[in-house]
C-alpha cells in the first residue's frame, strides 16, 4: 500500500468572450492562446502517457463558459484562422532567422508546435477539443468536474441564494450537455467559500469541493488531519483543503520552479520586439502590439538583458524539477503518515493555463512527474472521488469564509477599482427574481426573453471582470462587459414592465451571448 496520495487539480477557465459582431476581436485571443499553449499541449502529454501505458489520475475542472466556447462553431472557426495566421508568421520567422544559429531552432520549434496544434485541433479532435478530455475521462485517467456557470465569486452573492443556485444548477446542466455525464465535484471559483454554499452543492448532487488551506483549518472543529484528509459538511458534502507547499512550488514565479533562469521568459515576445512594419499583420489593428507566442529568450534573471532560450538546458531542468517535486511529496507524505491513521492526500490545485501559457515547460514537467510517479510506490496519484470511495467516513466540519486570493478573502474582487459593480449586479438579481416570480409559466417569445434576461445576469457576475478591473491590462473591456450585460438586462426588464419585446434586438443578443442554451429563468425563483 502507498504511503500517501497526490491529487493534482487543474482548473481550466476563461470568461465567455465571443464577438460575432466583429471580424476579429482582441480578447478572443485569450481562448486561442490557451488552446495553443496549454490545452492542446496538455492533451498531447496525457495521450502520450496513455499510449505508453503509463498510469495517471488527474482532476480537471473545466468551467462552463470555457467548455461552451470550446464547443462553439464560430470560435472554432476563428481559432483555425488564428492558427493559420500564426503558421504564416512561423514561416516568416524561420526565414528571418535562417542565418541565426541561436534563434533558428526556436523558430522551427514554434513552427512544429503550430503544426502539431493544427493537426490535433482539425484532424484529431475535429475542432472540438472537449472530445480529448472526454475520452481521457472515459478511459479512467481524468475526473472532470465543473465550476459555477460564469465563474462568479460566490461569497459576494451569499445574500442571494437564488442566484447561487442559478450559477450552480446552470453549470451542472451545461456540464451534462457538453460532457455527457453529471459532474461529481465542484470547483468554487477562486476557492471562494461562504458558509451555506454547500446546501446548493448538495441540491445539485455534487459530492465535494475544494477550499483554501485556511478555509479548512479554521473549521469550527479543528481538522484532525489538517488539510491532508477531506472533511465532511453536516449535509454530507465533502471538502478538500489546498496544500500550500506543493502549490507554491509550482505557482510561485520567485521561489517556485517556473521562475528558474533557464526557462522561457513569458514577457519577451516578438510582438513587442520586432519592427512594426514586419509584425503589423500579426498584431492588433491600430498597431496595438500584442503577444504572438513567439518568445526567444530565457528568464535569465531580473534584468532586461536576456539570454537566448536553450531548449536542451530547459529540458534537463524540467526533468530535475519534476524529480524534485516528487521527492518533496515523498518526504512530505512520509512525515504526514507518521501522524495519521490513514494515508494522507496532498491536494495541489493549479490554474490549467499556468501550464504552457505562462510556464512554457509546464506540460513537460507534468509528463516527467507522472512518469517518475509510475516508477515508485510511495506516492500514488488519485482523484477526489476515488479517495472518497476508499475513505467514505470523514470528520465533520465546516469551512470558514475564505478564498485563495490575496490575504485569503475577497479583497481582489471587492476593491475600490471594482466595488461599483455590486450595486448594479445585485439590483439586476433582485429584478430578475421579481420577473421569475411575476411570470411563472411563460411560453414562446416571452420565455425566450426571460431566459435571455437570466443569461445576461449570470454573465455580468463573472469574477474575471472585477479581477481585471483591479489587475489587468484590458480594464475598459472588463468594464464594458459588466455594463453591456446589465444594460441588456435592464432593457429587457423595462420592456417586460411595459409588456413589450423588441424581437429583432432580442434575437441579436441571443445570437451573440448564446451561452447556456438550456438556462431556465425560473431558477431565479428558487434558492
Amino acid at each position: 500500500m502507498c504511503k500517501g496520495y497526490l491529487c493534482l487539480v487543474f482548473h481550466a477557465h476563461l470568461p465567455f468572450v465571443r464577438h460575432p459582431e466583429y471580424e476579429s476581436f482582441l480578447e478572443e485571443n485569450w481562448l486561442f492562446e490557451a488552446i495553443s499553449e496549454s490545452y492542446l499541449p496538455l492533451l498531447r502529454v496525457m495521450n502520450k502517457l496513455k499510449e505508453d501505458s503509463i498510469p495517471f489520475k488527474l482532476t480537471f475542472s473545466i468551467s462552463p463558459t470555457l467548455a461552451s466556447m470550446l464547443s462553439d462553431e464560430l470560435l472554432q472557426k476563428r481559432y483555425i484562422n488564428h492558427l493559420k495566421k500564426m503558421q504564416d508568421l512561423a514561416a516568416r520567422e524561420v526565414d528571418r532567422t535562417k542565418r541565426d544559429s541561436q534563434f533558428k531552432p526556436l523558430a522551427l520549434m514554434y513552427k512544429e508546435l503550430l503544426e502539431a496544434n493544427y493537426y490535433d485541433f482539425c484532424e484529431v479532435y475535429k475542432k472540438n477539443i472537449l472530445k480529448g478530455f472526454k475520452a481521457l475521462e472515459k478511459d479512467g485517467y481524468l475526473e472532470i468536474i465543473t465550476s459555477s456557470a460564469t465563474h462568479a465569486f460566490l461569497p459576494l452573492y451569499d445574500q442571494y441564494p437564488q442566484v447561487v443556485e442559478a450559477q450552480i444548477n446552470t453549470a451542472v446542466i451545461s456540464h451534462g450537455r457538453l460532457f455527457g455525464k453529471e459532474p461529481t465535484g465542484f470547483w468554487l471559483p477562486e476557492c471562494g467559500y461562504y458558509p451555506g454554499v454547500e446546501k446548493h452543492l448538495k441540491a445539485n448532487n455534487l459530492h465535494y469541493f475544494f477550499t483554501a488551506a485556511h478555509g479548512t483549518l479554521f473549521s469550527p472543529s479543528r481538522p484532525r488531519y489538517g488539510v491532508y484528509a477531506p472533511l465532511c459538511c453536516n449535509n454530507g458534502v465533502h471538502f478538500f483543503g489546498r496544500d500550500l507547499q506543493s502549490s507554491s512550488a509550482v505557482w510561485s514565479g520567485q521561489d517556485g520552479y517556473p521562475g528558474d533562469a533557464t526557462y522561457r521568459d513569458f514577457y519577451r515576445d516578438i510582438g513587442f520586439d520586432l519592427p512594426l512594419d514586419y509584425i503589423r499583420p500579426y498584431i492588433h489593428e491600430g498597431d496595438i502590439r500584442i503577444f504572438t507566442g513567439f518568445k526567444y529568450y530565457a528568464i535569465t534573471g531580473k534584468t532586461n538583458q536576456k539570454k537566448p532560450y536553450n531548449r536542451e538546458e530547459a529540458a534537463a531542468k524540467v526533468r530535475e524539477h519534476a524529480e524534485n517535486f516528487l521527492y518533496q511529496r515523498t518526504m512530505q507524505v512520509k512525515r504526514l503518515s507518521r501522524l495519521m491513521k490513514r494515508p494522507p492526500i496532498v491536494v495541489s490545485p493549479y490554474d490549467a493555463e499556468l501550464f504552457g501559457h505562462w510556464w512554457f515547460e509546464g506540460p513537460q514537467w507534468l509528463d516527467h512527474l507522472i512518469r517518475f510517479s509510475a516508477e515508485q510506490q510511495e506516492v500514488e496519484m488519485i482523484t477526489p472521488s476515488e479517495y472518497l470511495k476508499l475513505y467514505p467516513e470523514n470528520q465533520i466540519g465546516q469551512p470558514s469564509y475564505s478564498s485563495w486570493g490575496n490575504r485569503g478573502y475577497a479583497e481582489v474582487w471587492l476593491d475600490s477599482s471594482n466595488d461599483w459593480i455590486y450595486r448594479h449586479i445585485h439590483k439586476a438579481i433582485e429584478r430578475m427574481t421579481e420577473l421569475a416570480i411575476r411570470f411563472p409559466e411563460e411560453k414562446g417569445l416571452k420565455r425566450r426573453t426571460l431566459n435571455q434576461a437570466a443569461r445576461e445576469v449570470v454573465l455580468s457576475m463573472a469574477s474575471d471582470w472585477p479581477f481585471i478591473m483591479k489587475n489587468g491590462t484590458t480594464v475598459p473591456y472588463a468594464v464594458r462587459r459588466v455594463k453591456e450585460h446589465l444594460h441588456n438586462f435592464n432593457r429587457i426588464y423595462e420592456n417586460l414592465c411595459r409588456n413589450t419585446v423588441n424581437t429583432e434586438w432580442l434575437t441579436s443578443i441571443e445570437k451573440k451571448n448564446n451561452v447556456f442554451p438550456d438556462i431556465d429563468y425560473l431558477i431565479f425563483s428558487n434558492g
Binding site: F218, P223, M331, Y422, N471, V475, P476
Partner: protein, 245 residues
C-alpha cells in the same frame, strides 16, 4: 500602453489620458512631458499591483495579458446603466474578517427629509455588532455610528472584531429622535481561530502537528481571552514554508 502608442496620440487625447490617470501636470506641459508622466503613473500602478498580489493572482494576471501595458479607452460609454434606482436601501458585503463594504441609496422622497427644512441631521450609519457564543447564540449587541454625507453612497467599514455578526442601519436624527431609513443584511465575520479537536482520533497530539504541517507555523491554541488570533496573511502570501525532516 507603450510609448510608441502614446506618441501617436494627439495632445488633447494625452491630456484626457493624464486626467484619467490622476496625473498632475502643468497646463504648459508639452507632449513629451505628458507622455513621460503618463508612463510613470502606469508603471507605478503596475508595480503596486504586482507587489500586492500573491503568486496565484500574479499567474492569473498573465491569463488575461494580451498586451504589455494597460489599455486605456477614450471611447464614450457604449452601454449606459442607471446611476441610481430611486430606492432606499443599504447593503453590506464582507471583504475580509476586519473590513466590510457598505453601499446604499436614498430615494428622492427620503432625500427630501434632508432638504426640505425638516431640521434633520445628515444621515449616519449605525454598525451593530452581535457577539455570539461558540454555539452561535447571541450574547451581546453593541453599536457604533459613522457619520456620512448626503453625497456619499458607499463606505469601507473597519470591523472591531472577527467572529462577530454585523448589520447596519442607515439613520438620521430629527431633534432628539433617531429615525431609521433602512437596515442591511447581516454578515458574519470569520473567526480566524482553530477549533477544538472535538472527537479525538488520529494519533495522540498529532492534531497540532498536522495543522502546523498544513501551513501554520506559529500555531497557538485558541485562547479564552478576547484576542485576535494570529492571522495567516504573511504565509498565505509567501505561500512557502520550510518543513523540518
Amino acid at each position: 500602453m507603450t510609448k510608441e502608442r502614446l506618441l501617436n496620440l494627439s495632445k488633447e487625447s494625452l491630456i484626457s489620458l493624464a486626467e484619467q490617470e490622476d496625473v498632475d501636470f502643468s497646463p504648459e506641459a508639452g507632449k513629451e512631458e505628458l507622455i513621460e508622466l503618463i508612463l510613470e503613473a502606469l508603471e507605478e500602478e503596475r508595480s503596486e499591483h504586482e507587489s500586492s498580489n500573491n503568486p496565484a493572482m500574479r499567474v492569473k494576471e498573465t491569463k488575461y495579458d494580451i498586451v504589455l501595458e494597460r489599455i486605456i479607452s477614450l471611447k464614450e460609454d457604449e452601454f449606459p446603466i442607471p446611476e441610481t434606482y430611486n430606492e432606499t436601501y443599504i447593503k453590506l458585503l464582507m471583504r475580509d474578517p476586519l473590513w466590510a463594504y457598505a453601499y446604499w441609496e436614498l430615494k428622492d422622497s427620503d432625500l427630501e427629509i434632508f432638504q426640505g427644512g425638516f431640521l434633520a441631521t445628515e444621515p449616519f450609519i449605525r454598525v451593530y455588532e452581535i457577539q455570539e457564543s461558540l454555539q452561535n447564540a447571541p450574547v451581546s449587541t453593541s453599536y457604533f455610528d459613522i457619520p456620512v454625507k448626503l453625497s456619499d453612497n458607499n463606505w469601507y467599514i473597519n470591523l472591531p472584531r472577527t467572529g462577530s455578526s454585523y448589520y447596519l442601519a442607515l439613520m438620521y436624527k430629527l431633534g432628539k429622535t433617531e429615525k431609521t431609513l433602512c437596515t442591511s443584511n447581516t454578515i458574519k465575520s470569520p473567526n480566524e481561530t482553530y477549533g477544538l479537536l472535538k472527537d479525538g482520533g488520529g494519533i495522540a497530539d498529532a492534531g497540532n502537528d498536522l495543522v502546523l504541517l498544513s501551513g501554520l507555523y506559529d500555531f497557538e491554541a485558541p485562547s479564552s481571552k478576547n484576542v485576535i488570533p494570529q492571522r495567516i496573511i504573511s504565509f498565505l502570501d509567501a505561500q512557502y514554508i520550510q518543513l523540518k525532516d
